[in-house]
């Protein structure tokens, strides 16, 4: 096996070999490698196929900007992870990775044919081709695109890993542990500021840490040596926290940031077990220093995407940091000085290389150094083509014309096995823009820079456009002193020597003799979009960068265009003849790099996903086979199936028992608000539509609450416990909202009222017993209580005891039956329930759930707010005009009840519906019409509640119908998929219209 690891470095431990699998084959790397560096050490450049044309692609970079080396990690159904960049993945024993985009395999694949039909795949190809017919999408286009595009596979089973969240507060957060970040962290921490430094790599120091050019020195030491000392020093600072393998995922307003800390991704399988995989840090920082550095730009020329073509600085890092050479005969193609550092490094390690430089000449220290070492430099030349299928083997260069618009002279063919490109540097302004910062364009070297620094955020170092070391250190120190309002003198006498770049020449789309239409000048490697696509989009009339981006899909891949956005903008500006700075940039959105769902969710998975509220009788319901329904966060018994009953059978049995003898319902979930104060009656007068001042102590009253717009908001029974003390009940789902609303009015509109509200929903449990035998059961439970209609009539309240425990008993009914609700402190709820069941045995007391409750109340035509209403129903629409006081001057929503729209007579109004076939049960939500023959059919309303009533032995329904009030007896039609159902409009009350049962 070839070995491209050519020398030792302090970051790679060659004595510790690590075995890993890539595309099913076993290889060896060393401790300290990334997957990418280990592959390159094995001579592997080819790592995948391109998205659209399926061209062979190789590793391009050494960091987060990597567009090609995208892997699927692992193959287990629950643990596989897509979209992992090999350049960021630390190697570990037993790692299994596969190339993501290479169906059926990386060396040969069907999609490669796209390369030859590529003239047929222009910009907007997906929009233009896969448009019609619609039915082809699901069955033909999408599977085809997915299969051949290889977007990676999601795990199909729940993620077994543990994720964690942590909230932290700091005075200063420093993002990025390169040289400017380290200087900042030291200055801040030494001045008594609680500081957090995060860096996404496992070793601090950024690109300076492997810098070893003699032309660049700090205090007479190599910059890397100097920086290592600084890192040693900051590690001793007590109020500095350093988090490695931690990347900022999102930067929100008010300096709220999310950071992902990788805890086990670099560990071998057996060491990952039972450990937290990743931790999401939720950071609040008083001040944030962004020191995220910059990334090298590629150059856009014909066939710039072959395996073996990398960013120049990445070749340097693979060599000086990982000890790996990317080739044996390397050409560097550049428009700036930084490739010369790579060249000199390669030369020192004995690797043959030469430089092709766009610039007419250049004269910095680095260039003099390269010249003195005898490195061949082609100034004023441009690469016009490259050759080699699975890896580059040669290229052609030509001389540039004076204006740089075209090439002149003869082609020179040069052989090579690797090409490094450097198109300058792009400051990483992602964090700045994510936080809402704007950008400025610097024409000099064509970079977008943070426009403004605010009092709580600043960018320093190369992400702020300071590229040479002297600039970086001096400016960082000055800015940080001002920004943090400190006077740190640590770097006052630091002596910096560095090479200064004097010459610049940038051409976004490099000239070529071949017409653009016949070239492949890639801009976005991951999404396979070319310079030609951008030009075509412009020709077709697209102008906005956001539109061009979407039409060509440039910058839309998982790398969010880290390498491609600038070139796309540059080419648009050049083509449209406008200044690049005027175009604006696309928006950078979080996350900066892909983030696992598990990290975002943290511990809130499985049973911790949502809060569950259970009543104190819950255990009994479980033991007695209840099926549960979620009502808000509550678990409510839905029905209690017996001996293999289905829901329908259970509900029929339960509702029959409740009417024939007795039923019991757990009503604990109803919202309960304790209302006290000298103005409590006045307060109720203002929030309910009916009058409350005259309600006698010990009596209960049903009330409806409106929104200020006149629409029904909630309902419930309120009991007057004493002169200034009421207990209000609300719907189960509406409890929290009602309390919020009442508090809002009390605090903001009527602060003069002496009223106190307390939510007591969880404090009391409620057993509701109904049916003709309920009084007998109550008598067994409360033998001393006079249950006569005279002493304890309907809509009244008593206090009595069970075994010395106080109970509040309300005689109120939601079923139309004689009915009692017993309230007791929640800790006794389960005992109370069991005593009721025991006492009711001889009367066949039957527990019933929400479904039966809904049926029973529908028989009586009682509404359920939220089921029969939807925020557009007034009391009058519900045929409940009786509940609206005519005498009261004002209450919430009163004025809205006679707005022109609310008094319309053709509003949708609540009615009853009876099916012509009494066995036919309507579907809730079904539309109602009066005519099915016309071309345009008016929808008159819809069914809101529908049941088969065992007590009436027929189907009943409630519905809202336009002008329904006037339609009693009228025939209507409910058109269903396979039939039309004939119904007749009826009264809303189906059973016991004269309320005989209430006093049975």
């Amino acid at each position: 096996m070839p070995n491209y690891r050519i020398h030792k470095t302090e970051y790679i431990d060659e004595t510790k070999r690590v075995s890993f699998k890539y595309d099913g084959k076993t290889y060896f790397g060393c401790e300290g490698d990334t997957l990418a560096s280990a592959l390159l050490a094995n001579g592997i450049h080819l790592v995948g196929r391109s998205f659209k044309y399926h061209r062979p692609r190789g590793i391009v970079s050494c960091g987060a900007e990597e567009p090609n080396a995208i892997c699927q990690i692992g193959s287990k159904k629950d643990l596989t992870e897509p979209n992992v960049r090999a350049t960021e993945l630390e190697l570990y024993e037993g790692l299994e990775a596969s190339s993501q985009n290479c169906w059926p395999n990386v060396k040969f694949d069907i999609g490669g044919i796209n390369n030859f039909i590529s003239p047929l795949i222009p910009a907007g190809f997906y929009y233009k081709t896969f448009m019609w017919p619609k039915s082809f999408w699901k069955k033909v286009y999408e599977p085809l695109i997915r299969l051949s595009a290889g977007l990676g596979k999601s795990p199909t089973e729940p993620d077994p890993d543990i994720y964690d969240h942590k909230h932290v507060h700091y005075d200063v957060l420093v993002i990025g542990g390169g040289i400017s970040g380290i200087i900042t962290a030291k200055m801040a921490a030494k001045n008594n500021l609680k500081t957090l430094l995060v860096d996404d790599k496992k070793i601090l120091g950024g690109s300076t840490i492997y810098q070893n050019n003699e032309a660049i020195k700090i205090d007479d030491k190599l910059s890397s040596e100097w920086l290592k000392n600084e890192i040693q020093e900051i590690k001793k600072l007590s109020n500095l926290t350093i988090k490695i393998r931690t990347s900022i995922a999102a930067y929100h307003g008010y300096n709220f940031l999310l950071a992902k800390e990788n805890l086990t991704d670099h560990l071998p399988e057996e060491k990952k077990k039972n450990k937290i995989r990743q931790r999401l840090w939720k950071i609040r920082a008083k001040k944030v220093v962004i020191a995220t550095g910059s990334i090298e730009r590629p150059l856009v020329f014909n066939n710039n995407d072959r395996p073996g073509i990398l960013l120049s600085n990445s070749i340097n890092k693979y060599l000086d940091y990982y000890g790996v050479s990317c080739g044996e005969n390397i050409i560097l193609f550049t428009n700036n000085d930084s490739a010369y550092e790579t060249s000199i490094s390669l030369h020192k390690k004995g690797i043959k290389n030469l430089i092709v430089d766009l610039r007419k000449s250049a004269s910095s220290e680095l260039i003099k150094q390269a010249e003195s070492l005898g490195i061949k430099i082609y100034f004023n030349h441009v690469v016009t083509n490259t050759f080699g299928y699975r890896k580059i083997n040669s290229l052609e260069i030509m001389k540039l014309s004076e204006d740089g618009n075209t090439t002149v002279g003869n082609k020179i063919k040069l052989s090579c096995d690797c090409l490094g490109m450097s198109g300058g540097w792009t400051p990483m302004v992602h964090m700045h823009t994510q936080s809402g910062g704007k950008l400025d364009f610097r024409d000099d070297d064509q970079v977008f820079l943070p426009k403004e620094n605010s009092e709580d955020k600043i960018s320093v170092g190369s992400c702020n456009g300071d590229f040479d070391l002297e600039n970086i250190i001096d400016k960082t120190v000055n800015k940080i002193n001002k920004f943090l309002d400190i006077d740190n003198q640590d770097y006052q006498d630091t002596n910096i020597i560095c090479s200064k770049e004097n010459d610049k020449r940038n051409i976004w789309l490099l000239p070529n003799k071949i017409p653009l239409g016949k070239t492949k000048c890639f801009i976005d490697f991951q999404n396979d979009s070319t310079a030609k696509d951008i030009k075509l989009a412009l020709k077709e009339g697209f102008r906005s960068i956001e539109h061009v981006k979407r039409y060509t899909t440039t910058g839309m891949a998982t790398d969010q265009g880290k390498l491609s956005n600038m070139h796309a903008l540059g080419i648009i500006a050049d083509t449209a003849g406008v200044k690049m700075g005027t175009l604006g940039t696309t928006t950078f959105r979080p996350p900066f790099t892909p983030l696992a769902f598990g990290t975002l969710v943290g511990r809130n998975v499985g049973k911790f996903f949502e809060v569950v509220r259970k009543t104190s009788m819950h255990e009994w319901h479980v033991e007695n086979n209840a099926e549960f329904e979620n009502v808000g966060q509550w678990k409510r018994p839905w029905y209690y199936p017996k001996d293999g009953e289905n829901m329908h059978d259970s509900v029929q049995r339960e509702s029959k028992a409740a009417r024939d003898s007795a039923g019991i319902l757990d009503a604990s979930t109803l919202g309960k608000i304790d209302i006290q104060g000298t103005d409590a009656s006045e307060f109720l007068n203002r929030v309910y539509t009916n009058a409350w001042s005259k309600l006698a102590i010990g009596k209960c009253r049903y009330g409806i609450m409106l929104n200020e717009d006149g629409m029904v908001y909630d309902d419930g029974v309120t009991t007057r416990i004493s002169e200034n003390h009421y207990l209000m009940t609300t719907t189960t789902g509406g409890a929290a909202n009602v309390l919020n609303k009442l508090e809002d009015y009390l605090q903001t509109e009527w602060p003069e009222l002496d009223v106190y509200l307390t939510s007591v929903t969880d404090h009391y449990s409620t057993a509701s017993i109904c049916g003709p035998n309920s009084k007998k059961i109550l008598n067994k439970l409360f033998p001393n209580l006079d249950l006569s209609d005279e002493n304890f009539p309907h809509m009244s309240f008593k206090v009595d005891k069970i075994e010395n425990i106080n109970c509040r008993i309300m005689r109120i009914s939601f079923t139309g039956e004689l009915s009692y609700e017993i309230n007791i402190e929640s800790k006794y709820g389960n005992s109370l329930w069991k005593m009721c069941i025991e006492a009711g045995k001889e009367f066949n007391l039957t527990p019933y759930g929400t479904e039966t409750m809904h049926l029973l109340r529908a028989e009586k035509g009682f509404i359920i707010v939220g089921q029969d209403t939807d925020g557009t129903m007034t009391p009058s629409d519900l045929q409940m005009d009786w509940i609206v006081s005519k005498k009261k001057y004002d209450f919430i929503g009163k004025r809205s009840l006679y707005r022109s729209d609310t008094i319309r007579e053709d509003r949708k109004q609540l009615v009853g519906l009876l099916t012509d076939d009494p066995k036919e049960i309507l579907e809730e939500g079904a539309q109602i019409v009066s005519d099915i023959k016309s071309k345009h059919i008016d929808m008159l309303g819809h069914v809101t509640s529908s049941y088969f009533s065992p007590n009436l032995n027929k189907s009943i329904a409630l519905a809202v119908v336009r002008s329904g009030k006037t339609m009693k007896g009228q025939k209507l039609i409910i058109p269903m998929e396979n039939k039309n159902i004939n119904v007749t409009v009826s009264d809303t009350i189906f059973l016991d219209k004269d309320n005989k049962k209430l006093n049975a």
Binding site: E743, T748, D890, R899
Partner: protein, 93 residues
Amino acid sequence: MFLINCPFCGERDQSEFSSGGEAHIVRPKQPTELSDDEWAEYLFMRKNIKGIQFERWNHAHGCRKWFNIVRDTSNDKILSVYKMGEKPPVNYK
């Protein structure tokens, strides 16, 4: 994610609060005297300003108190916080 300085509890994360829309819309004392249009003005019309806006907020997962803030909606900066019943700071009028 705002950091809101509750006048009763101090600085807390936005997730503890709920917003109640535009501030200083007084419920008419005599709604019956109002025309449909006047009532609709109170009921529906809100300014939704780009720039300096007065808003009601509730410390829902805290002290449950309502209060007002002055916020510049163009940059989300909260310029002032004051209790219900207090006059809005005149310098932001």
